[in-house]
Symmetry: C2
Amino acid sequence: MDDLKTFELPDVTCGGQGTDVEACACETPRKRGRPRAFDPDVVLETVLELFWMRGFANTSLDDISAATGVSRPSLAATFGDKEALYLKAMERYRNGISGQLDTVLQCNGPGDNLRGIVNRYFDVMISSYTGETEDCLGCAFMCTALNEAPRHESIMSVLQGTIEEFDARFEHFFTKAQEMGHIGSNQDPKVMSQMITSLTSSLAVRARAGASREDLKAIVDATTSFLFP
Amino acid sequence: MDDLKTFELPDVTCGGQGTDVEACACETPRKRGRPRAFDPDVVLETVLELFWMRGFANTSLDDISAATGVSRPSLAATFGDKEALYLKAMERYRNGISGQLDTVLQCNGPGDNLRGIVNRYFDVMISSYTGETEDCLGCAFMCTALNEAPRHESIMSVLQGTIEEFDARFEHFFTKAQEMGHIGSNQDPKVMSQMITSLTSSLAVRARAGASREDLKAIVDATTSFLFP
DNA sequence: ATATTTTTATGCGACATCGCAAATAAATAT
DNA sequence: ATATTTATTTGCGATGTCGCATAAAAATAT
């Protein structure tokens, strides 16, 4: 059962987070002009929260400026226009999730079975969908990018890329799992993958509509019991 | 196999559509003042298209006025403010889908089996998600309501109601199906229902991201073959 | 110290959006 | 015919939003 170790998926480039202005004196000879008064990553985190809860169109640069304490011209100089800022915030969001999935979608030693791994995956997603506050989060892509995709080619593109990443991840995962005999040779890895991604989008919708962590876990448990008996 | 006929679900109130101004002289003694120069239902159809493709915040009353030929004050007098107009358009959308599901989610005589019924259901949903143009539609609720829900209690409420309607519909459907022995007594109707609703939301997301009718049908076929062998 | 570079602060101008108010138009009731 | 009712048209004012331009500040290079 420990040959599940070979489940790990190829690394997804995970942008350098937590780049503190002061702490980053590791090797940088410090640039020429006036130094930035804010940490771009911290700003992007706040920006993500705003877009996530209010949507792209409903979030003004003034809102962002007020919430981050960074003036509009500084935002523009650092991130570009509103769309570029949105894309950077979403890229960070996606990398954060991807990094967690890289960790969780592999075997943690013997006794770790397929159903356990899949349940861990859903724990990660449920956490990201429900957060730590009372806010109804859901998936930041589904909540905001679905809305904007037809009007912004770049947003459509990143949405498609995210879907493809999830598909590729799970198709690869279940193909490997089948090769090792953890699912029957009569089952289709593609179908298993579709079940997982489908349930994922369903959880995202329900979370946005107010479902609790427990509600979502109950749904996941019932489904994984059925899929991995 | 024809006892599947008892599958039909309770009627969902389906608002009177196609109310033509002239054709509706059936019984109406015609109201007092100046008659309306437009059909509210036709307007709502156009309004839905606008909101669907551009989202709530990105669609201005001026856009709607231009697309429908109805001036802003007339829109306000007929439908109320922007939020009320959105809700009425979405109610019409939902009723349209519900009406189709009432028809399709019941047995059409002997030879109509569970998998056939579920496939018919997905045909309806795929049609509504892909439409007849080149536009990437998806689900109007997921594309727009997920975005606005945290900021508008009424939109959150109609989103929750729609989710509950689908859940109730399929839980009832599979409970009946199980009582009649069309699915094993060891299977959980709730889980089957979750599989269907999950796949539904997945199709909606994929459609919005550009998946074709054929792409979606392939996913549905693979899944229903697995669920109803 | 002075110049150079980069970021920050302030503010203006153009435009879109919404709600509302007043005047006009088209029907029925008496 | 006149009055009444309802819809439509036109237009104004307040607000929000974005992009840009200019001035000030804070660092390094020489």
